[in-house]
């Protein structure tokens, strides 16, 4: 049988397997829903979901176990375009996409769209500039390409460093997400959750490398897309009567906007109440600020005042309730100046709730023209960084090595974005639908009649949802609701009035998103260490078995290290994820693209360009981002270090152009690359040339 027809048979069989799998999964859901009706406890549903999905992923891992290098590194290069698209979708969509993004849109309105556009538009760059050429080159890793194109180990080594830097911060965030979701699904502790999730990741990638990860990711994509769609469609039917939320939520957005206008207008009854609550927050914050300013003197003087009130009351033989309240005021006063500072700082922070809510559909809301301009600049800069970063993250680019041909690599980018698009263009609809529910059904309702999901979620985690009757009128005001972004996705099934089994499904979907991304990232790091560092630079004579063995060992070490860092609950994990995009963009994009599109690009130029791009990006973050400044002991005022008011999250807007500029200039003043290198460039540009004897395929 020829390889083309065997590939066709393989694709047909894959289709059959995954259709059966999807059917089985839906059957599993229905069965659980029926059991729930018969009174199966919620805790059990959580455990069954966790156990069933992790066992499924482990099962695929066991079935796909391999020690063949090509199977282990690139899944034997026979993943059909559609399936590679699904796998890339799962690889790409992390816990942040699945759980966080709709929440960001809920909280930020238009500004949140930077993530929607940035994380999809980047695939245009992948399709036009990278995927087909990398597939033609056809080795195992991104540093492989740098090593071959820029002749030698320096470029390869710099590539390894950048790949590890951006993938590691990213994988830590995924494992953190795994811990959170597992804890929420089952009630286990966060640390146990991290290690249960880790077991699910490892058994799969450890046994079968890219091959197992690919087939698991396809299975995970199916779970996560089903889990995302069911609640949104249901909510859409509830509010519009039409089951296609993406097409019809415009009318809901109009209603939300009208409601926003009403709540913002202090002349309407509801608006007046809102203004009243916001004023109470503002007063509380400014009182706390005044006390903070008076420290440390204010601590003693206020304590003395309270003591004096109590003493006076005692001396005057005041009634017992006056005495008791004076005693209580003194007792609840902070113990020392440090405690007072902490308590008052917390109080001062309610200032953020004293401002009016933003209007969902308004672009760049700000108080004046200048602030609007800064908002716009940062919006566009963030999109740029996320897009270029998408086209430079090694765990994504690596996936296009696994298709059978250049043609399928091109098709595969289309399928990748198509499958990602399904979720991304639904998220803005979800955010608006949930906002409508909260603005019209919750706001204005009575505290005595709050829906059940409000009570259950504020009990789970008050940072996700807390509603307090600040002005004691018994009615919920918008300003009285403090909401965390993650709840938008997690609580939608309950808001929509769906059974608990769907809540379990959504958590399982989030878990699938986090696990699949973690799989891809761990593999990238382990491959960079074992293939590029060990095999290509240290021991080129290593046997295939040794190479795969070393890779598995690294996989274990990196996974444990990432789990350890995640269990420390490092602050600002979200910043680190976005930082990974800026760093990858500045480090890889110019060197990769110029390496393909400009034959004149020289080795030394590429190395300098990569280093300069990453360095300036890192430097900008280190001097302007609060957590990084603390890490590196930077004390000069942030304002002095800012360039054109660009936020540290978008530091890549400096790194990418600098990388391009350095590579262009240095290439022009150094001797042109050798003939063989120029031939390599020609080789990757054409899918197939008659008489081209060069073969760069990795073995």
């Amino acid at each position: 049988m020829s390889s083309a027809s065997s590939q066709r048979a393989f694709t047909a069989q894959l289709k059959k397997i995954y259709i059966w799998y999807t059917g089985g999964f839906l059957f599993f859901l229905v069965a659980l829903a029926i059991l729930e009706q018969f009174g199966m406890p919620r805790q059990w549903i959580g455990y069954i979901f966790l156990l069933a999905t992790v066992l499924l992923y482990a099962g695929i891992g066991v079935m796909s176990r391999t020690s063949d290098a090509s199977e282990y590194y690139v899944a034997g290069r026979r993943v059909p375009a559609v399936f590679n698209g699904m796998a890339t979708g799962a690889d790409w969509m992390s816990a942040a996409s699945f759980i966080g993004m709709a929440g960001t849109l809920y909280l930020q309105g238009y500004s949140g769209l930077a993530f929607i556009m940035g994380w999809t538009g980047g695939y245009v760059l992948v399709a036009l500039f990278l995927a087909p050429y990398l597939r033609k080159f056809g080795q195992f890793t991104i540093p492989d390409f740098l090593g071959a194109r820029y002749g030698g180990n320096t470029a390869r080594f710099v590539g390894v460093l950048i790949a590890i830097l951006c993938s590691f911060v990213y994988v830590v965030a995924q494992i953190y997400g795994v811990g959170l979701i597992t804890a929420r699904l089952t009630g286990l502790s966060f640390e146990v959750g991290v290690f249960v999730g880790l077991a699910g990741i490892l058994v799969c990638s450890f046994l079968g490398g890219m091959k197992a990860v690919t087939w698991t990711q396809v299975a995970q994509y199916i779970i996560l897309i089903v889990a995302y769609m069911i609640p949104v469609v249901w909510l859409s039917i509830k509010h519009t009567g039409i089951p296609i939320p993406q097409l019809v939520y415009g009318s809901v957005l109009e209603k939300v906007s009208a409601r926003e206008t009403e709540l913002l207008d202090a002349k309407t009854p509801a608006g007046a109440k809102e203004a009243e609550v916001r004023k109470m927050f503002a007063d509380r914050a400014s009182a706390a600020e005044a006390r903070l300013k008076g420290l440390p003197g204010s601590f003693d003087s206020e304590k003395a005042t309270l003591q004096k009130t109590l003493d006076d009351a005692k001396a005057a033989n005041a009634p017992s309730d006056v005495l008791a309240s004076a005693q209580k005021a003194l007792d609840s006063y902070p113990k020392d100046a440090a405690a007072a500072k902490a308590a008052w700082t917390k109080d001062a922070a309610v200032k953020s709730r004293a401002g009016p809510p933003l209007k969902h559909g308004e672009a760049f809301p700000a108080k004046d023209e200048k602030a609007r301009d800064i908002a716009r600049k940062n919006f566009l800069a963030l999109i740029f960084c996320l897009m270029v970063g998408t086209a430079a993250l090694p765990h994504i680019l690596m996936r296009y090595y696994t298709t059978p041909s250049v043609k399928e690599a091109r098709d595969s980018v289309f399928w990748s974005l198509f499958f990602i698009f399904l979720l991304y263009f639904t998220a803005p609809a979800l955010a608006v639908l949930v906002k409508f529910d909260i603005y019209t059904l919750l706001v204005g309702s009575e505290f005595a009649k709050l829906p059940a999901w409000v009570a259950s979620w504020s009990k789970v985690d008050p940072s996700l949802l807390s509603i307090v009757d600040v002005n004691k009128d018994g009615i919920v005001q918008l300003a009285e609701i403090a909401i965390g972004g993650d709840i938008v996705v997690l609580a939608t099934p309950e808001i929509a009035g769906l059974p608990y089994v769907i809540s379990g499904l959504v958590a399982a979907g989030g878990l699938a998103a986090a696990l699949s991304t973690a799989d891809g990232l761990l593999l990238t790091i382990a491959n960079a260490l074992s293939h590029d560092l060990y095999y290509k630079m240290i021991n080129p004579n290593a046997s295939t078995a040794t190479r795969v063995g070393v890779s598995k060992a690294f996989l274990l070490i990196v996974a444990l290290a990432a789990a350890y860092v995640a269990s420390l609950k490092v602050a600002d994990i979200l910043f680190l994820v976005s930082a990974a995009f800026s760093l990858a963009a500045a480090g890889f994009f110019p060197a990769l693209v110029l390496g393909i599109f400009w034959k004149r690009t020289t080795s030394i130029a590429a190395v300098l360009g990569m280093l300069a791009g990453v360095s300036i990006t890192f430097y900008y973050m280190a001097t302007t981002q609060p957590w990084m400044r603390g890490l590196f002991g930077v004390t000069s005022p942030i304002a002095d270090n800012m360039w054109w008011d660009i936020a540290p999250i978008s530091a890549g807007v400096f790194g990418v152009p600098l990388g391009f500029a350095i590579i262009l200039i240095v290439s022009l003043i150094t001797p042109a690359p050798k003939r063989e290198v120029q031939e390599l460039v020609e080789h990757v540009r054409y899918p197939n040339i008659v008489g081209d004897t060069m073969n760069t395929q990795g073995r």
Binding site: V124, Y249, L253, A363, I383, R410, F418, F421, N688, M694
Partner: protein
Amino acid sequence: MQLTDKHREYWSKNLRLTAVLLAIWFVVTFVVGYLARDVFSFNFFGWPFAFWMGAQGSLVIYVAIIWYYARTMNKMDQEYGVAEVEE
């Protein structure tokens, strides 16, 4: 390996296609984004137009760009005789 004129034509056609598609990508993303407030805030079936573009429209166009590129290039491979032979 010797490149023929036909090969060079294939490559320059590819570059032209890439440039045009990149320009569309740029306009959809950055030009619409830059003018979101001043020009594109009109009502579009309930959405402010710039909001709709950011949330739905641009995504559809990105998918279409990639689909068109893959289709055109796969055809061009055949036309210029640089397609991979199915073994």
